[in-house]
Symmetry: C2
Subunit: 79 residues, 2 copies
């Protein structure tokens, strides 16, 4: 199964990369109130069962991909 | 309008961060055939028109957020 994980800085957590993007877009003349930058991780997991894939990917998030103190995540399982 | 941009390394382009994630997940015992790492950028654009927001965000991608030689992108506009 293919899976996509979106990892984002939690609300209230400082995001220097997002601030840099926001500033650069402003300098280019774009009207942007806020920019936040996180990670998208595309995974090819070798199970064929979507429920099992979701369980595995959530374990990957908890053990490696996400720092729960400062980041939140969403998992999508594709066909 | 809120917008989300997903920026991914193009197929065939070397992705050292993805390879590191893939290796680390393997060491943890997860069966992962491939991992690719890109960016998710959440933007708050100050126009209220979804079509106009999409046009603006695509311009931001072309001028700053994306390197079209090595990256592809998708834009989602939220309500």
């Amino acid at each position: 199964m293919k899976a996509t994980v979106l990892v984002r800085p939690k609300a209230g957590i400082l995001d220097p990369q997002g601030e840099a993007v926001e500033g650069a877009l402003g300098h280019l003349g774009f009207a942007v109130a806020e920019a936040r930058v996180g990670k998208v991780i595309d995974l090819d997991v070798t199970t064929a069962d979507p429920d099992e894939a979701r369980v595995q990917v959530e374990q990957m998030c908890e053990q490696l991909l996400v720092n729960p103190l400062i980041e939140s995540y969403d998992v999508e399982i594709h066909g």
